[in-house]
């Protein structure tokens, strides 16, 4: 509950209207999709970034291609709070379909630029309106066709916003140069449009805005990247050589980016041949099947999908678990159930992924919380998949995957690939010399992880038959109940081994605080802000961000050390809480409390703070 929707009046107590603020503001642009506003918004965001301000950009888009409402929100915050903030300082209304609601949702003291024909100014007296005749301004530029006029009107509001917020013209120009690489004519035209907007504001609306961008130095050497791109780079660096996928929002861009990267970085310059295969499968059942086939044959292979695709992978996921085949499956989660809100975010596939398939199955899942972790966790997933010979899931989400995040450059990976326990023909021969023999499903090391070979192994004793039906240690078919139990118990042991191999949870905040906030995934974006807000409200709390299933021992230790732990779930059913209850020592469970946010919009610090504060007050 406790969702604080973006389109509702909300008067912030910490940010009273009209108090001028430097480098802490939110710009909300309402357009329709397919109108080309996306590049204007990127230019706006980048300009701020180039001025040294921490920024994030969130695109709220409909599940359609053209003509429906879209919003883009830029948050600039000197403290580096880059999660969603509900209060909007500057609204840009370009969409007649939503303009009234957009204005109604503003808090008192907000500023609103709007396209003149919308005539919004009478709507509220506690909002400052700046009417701008964008079409008319653009008409000043000669020789434009209609499409171009529309596009340039968007650039025109960029100029207006820049003028109002103090964004430097040269940064707009630099951002345009980046955007329209090697097209100086396009840059000039867009600059012209931006200048028209700026000039209009300068001439008609001289008063300073209650917020301002001032050059600072928090972004030097940083990048702006979407989580899906970071994941794709991770897959590239991890040596993924087979990608099988089926398009689905919000995961498609991950695959498409990886394909583009591989085209560039995996093509042999001599032969022109590729060390990367990508198959757009007929559906997700096939894509996971291809990934398992490739993983079994020794390649590093992956797929990326979202909820509906995960559901379709259920049968094969259980096969991968039981037959012990490596695979990497990225789930960029969207709002379910069913088709749900396919262009909204949520973390509601946890329970499904944790136990995906019929019968006793348990999966390893990594949950990145930052773009860096999209990169690192995807890389780690390949190592873990081969080390543990099992499908490994990466649970990203739309907010993380498709929105723009500021970050340090992704570091070049340090270690080498961990290809796990693979025996080549020589190793099989040596086993024999040592009086042993290769047995595919034998727990030779006591960690539950057996040794495998891959097809093509020239030693005839190094082959085995892979099946989803009952098998014994030597991979022979069996229906024997004891052999079955041995294999199942070993698999459980293997899963236990994984606890200390998955990424450990990350503690932050005051370690000695009695109150804990346990969160995961993209909720990270609001974590520090929430802790600070809580502190401001007199509640000292430490946070722990869980990064993987099965739970690392540090998770229980954290809960043990706290009096109360608030588990933040971005889903209705408190899915992480359920998983914790199933796993943690029972004496810790009474400490856990649920807070949730599941309306499809990114979570924000205020609701986290409000919900915890209310529960704390309520008397635990």
């Amino acid at each position: 509950m406790g969702t604080t929707p973006a389109a509702k009046p909300h008067r912030s107590s910490t940010n009273p209207a009209a108090k001028p603020v430097v480098n802490d503001f939110t710009i909300h642009v309402a357009t329709v999709n397919g109108s080309g506003s996306q590049s204007s918004n990127m230019v706006l965001m980048r300009s701020l970034f180039q001025m040294g301000l921490p920024v994030s950009g969130k695109n709220l888009f409909p599940s359609n291609i053209q003509g429906l409402p879209t919003w883009f929100t830029i948050r600039a915050n000197k403290a580096g709070y880059l999660g969603r903030r509900v209060e909007v300082d500057l609204m840009v209304c370009m969409n007649p379909q939503t303009a009234r609601a957009d204005v109604q949702a503003l808090h008192a003291g907000a500023t609103c630029i709007y396209d003149a024909p919308l005539n919004l100014k009478g709507l509220r007296s506690d909002v400052r309106f700046l009417e701008i005749p964008f079409a008319k301004l653009i008409n000043e530029i000669p020789d434009l066709d209609n499409r171009l006029k529309k596009l340039l009107a968007n650039m025109c509001y960029v100029g207006a916003v820049a003028q109002l917020a103090g964004i430097e013209t040269k940064e707009i120009e630099a951002a345009l140069n980046k955007q329209f690489k090697k097209k100086p004519k396009a840059v000039a035209l867009n600059m012209k449009a931006a200048e028209l907007g700026a000039a209009y504001v300068r001439e008609h609306y001289g008063d300073p805005a209650p917020f301002r961008a001032e050059r600072m130095n928090a972004t030097a050497g940083k990048i702006i990247i979407e989580g899906n791109a970071a994941s794709a780079i991770g897959a590239l660096m991890a040596g993924c050589s087979v990608l099988a996928w089926y398009p689905i929002t919000p995961s498609s861009s991950l695959c498409e980016t990886l394909i583009s990267l591989a085209k560039k970085y995996r093509t042999d310059p001599q032969t022109g041949k590729s060390a990367f295969a990508a198959i757009q499968a007929e559906d997700e059942l096939a894509s996971i099947g291809m990934v398992l086939g490739a993983g079994w044959a020794g390649a590093r292979s992956m797929t990326a999908t979202s909820g509906p695709g995960i559901s379709l992978m259920a049968e094969f996921a259980g096969f991968g678990y039981y037959a012990e085949v490596p695979a990497v499956i990225v789930d960029v989660q969207r709002t379910g159930p069913s088709t749900g809100l396919p262009t909204r975010t949520q973390q509601a596939d946890l329970l499904e992924v944790a136990y995906l398939s019929h019968g006793d199955t348990q999966h390893i899942a990594l949950i990145p919380g930052t773009v860096h972790e999209c990169y690192a966790h995807v890389m780690a997933a390949f190592d873990l998949a081969e080390r543990f010979q099992t499908p490994v899931f990466v649970l990203s989400d739309l907010d993380l995957g498709m929105n723009s995040w500021m970050a340090d450059p992704l570091p070049y990976p340090k270690g080498d690939f961990d290809r796990g326990k693979v025996l080549d023909a020589k190793a099989v021969a040596e086993l024999k010399k040592a009086g042993k023999r290769f047995e595919r499903y034998r727990d030779a090391d006591g960690d539950g992880i057996p040794y495998r070979t891959v097809p093509g192994n020239e030693n005839s004793e190094g082959t085995y038959f892979t099946r989803g039906s009952g098998h014994d240690e030597a991979a022979r078919y069996t229906e024997d109940h004891e052999a079955y139990v041995r294999v199942m118990d070993r698999l459980a042991r293997k899963y236990e081994t994984a606890r200390t191999h998955v990424p450990a949870p990350e503690p932050t905040g005051d370690a000695k605080a009695e109150i804990g906030l346990l969160l995961y995934g993209s909720a990270e974006a609001c974590r520090q802000e929430a802790l600070d807000k809580l502190a401001a409200a007199g509640i000292k709390a430490a946070a722990l961000r869980v990064k993987a299933l099965p739970f690392h021992p540090d998770v229980a230790a954290f809960v043990k050390a706290k009096k109360r732990v608030y588990v933040l779930d971005l889903n209705r059913d408190a899915q992480m809480l359920k998983l914790l209850k199933a796993d943690l020592p029972v004496e810790l469970l009474a400490k856990l409390r649920s807070i949730r946010h599941y309306d499809g919009l990114p979570v924000h610090a205020q609701t986290v703070c409000d919900q915890i504060a209310a529960l704390e007050k309520e008397g635990k």
Partner: protein, 353 residues
């Protein structure tokens, strides 16, 4: 052509070795657990023989299957090849993934008519489109054997089920379907016709794309009643071979013989091997797609059981070629060829600054 007896997984004992020095028994597998007389076991025997004769190293083979009696058979041949017994109907996906991971593997998939034409139909169709280099054998008995005799999608229209239902739908003709979808190797055979089947398998082994062999393979337990078109009786009495077929491997050139004009038709495969077709009644040109379509239509309309090589186009790019893959198996590329250098990452990062 007689009904097979049990334990076909062991080829007839012989001292001979093939061109890589292996005896036929090196191509055997685990003992079959199928019903004695099951057509599938005959096919197993032909597979063993064909791989032996073509001198394919078992370790260079990967075996695939779905779920069903038929799909169990990869355990019964080439015991020293890796095998992957997947889930029901989705073997094509697994084989495609494995083939991309290691294009040097000779891939063979065994499926049933239920596995292929019911639950797996979409994957089968898309496999045809992708042209994965895979020998795809349908062990077609018109019935779900392993689940005890329900109709499959290749069951005869009008046939009656053991609990009384009558099948009202026309069977899917997998050869017709594959041809419609552009398959480059379409053949049909009969499990008990070892000679024809072995020749077709040999050709399939040398084909560089997907090779479909739809083999009528009687289920003696559930669908061998005399009026079933998938019974031994019907198949034996209605089999109309398109041609007598011989396979001449590229490594085993035959002495030039004086062939009578028009008596045989030679079709050359990509690797230089030759399929030699001796005409029987008519003259079917297996390189003509429309001729192939007509043959299939004739079989359907006249309820004839036409066997042989129906269509061959040896040239189409296979899946690995479509992906323009390097020659080495992706699976064995070292880290140095998979992880781009730091400069590459730097370049990507620079683009994001």
């Amino acid at each position: 052509m007689a009904t097979e007896t049990k334990a076909p997984a062991k080829p007839a004992p012989e001292k001979k070795v093939n061109r890589i020095g292996l005896e036929a028994k090196a191509y055997g597998g685990a003992p079959s657990t199928l019903c004695s007389g099951c057509g599938h076991d005959s096919i197993t025997r032909s597979i063993i023989q064909a791989f032996y004769e073509q001198g394919v190293a078992p370790h260079a083979v990967a075996k695939f299957s779905g779920i069903g009696c038929s799909s169990k058979t990869p355990a019964y041949f080439l015991g020293t090849a890796h095998g992957f017994n997947a889930v029901h109907g989705r073997m094509p996906a697994v084989a495609t993934g494995a083939n991309l991971a290691n294009r040097s593997l000779k891939c063979i998939g065994v499926s049933g008519d239920g596995d292929t034409a019911s639950i797996g139909l979409s994957h089968f169709c898309h496999l045809v489109r992708r042209n994965t280099e895979l020998i795809y054998i349908i062990e077609n008995n018109g019935v779900y054997g392993l689940t005890k005799g329900q109709f499959s999608a290749t069951a005869d229209k009008g046939s009656t089920h053991h609990y009384g239902e009558t099948n009202q739908m026309a069977p899917i003709d997998c050869c017709g379907l594959a041809l419609e979808l552009g398959c480059g190797f379409v053949a049909r055979s009969f499990s008990a016709d070892h000679k024809q089947l072995r020749a077709l398998l040999a050709a399939a082994i040398h084909h560089k794309g997907m090779a479909l062999i739809d083999v009528i393979s009687p289920c003696v337990t559930f669908n061998n009643h005399p009026d079933s078109t998938k019974s031994y009786n019907f198949s034996k009495t209605h089999d109309i071979p398109l041609h007598e077929i011989d396979f001449i491997a590229h490594f085993d050139p035959q002495p030039e013989v004086d062939l009578k004009e028009g008596e045989v038709r030679d079709v050359e495969l990509y690797d230089g091997s030759t399929i030699r077709l001796r005409k029987l009644d008519g003259d079917h040109d297996p390189t003509s797609r429309s001729a192939a379509a007509r043959i299939i239509e004739r079989g359907r309309d006249a309820k004839e059981f036409i066997t042989g090589l129906i269509y061959l186009d040896p040239k189409g790019a296979n899946c690995a070629e479509q992906n323009n893959l390097v020659d080495e198996p992706l699976a064995s590329l070292p880290q140095s060829r998979l992880r781009p250098p730091k400069a590459a990452l730097d370049e990507i990062m620079a683009g994001l600054m």
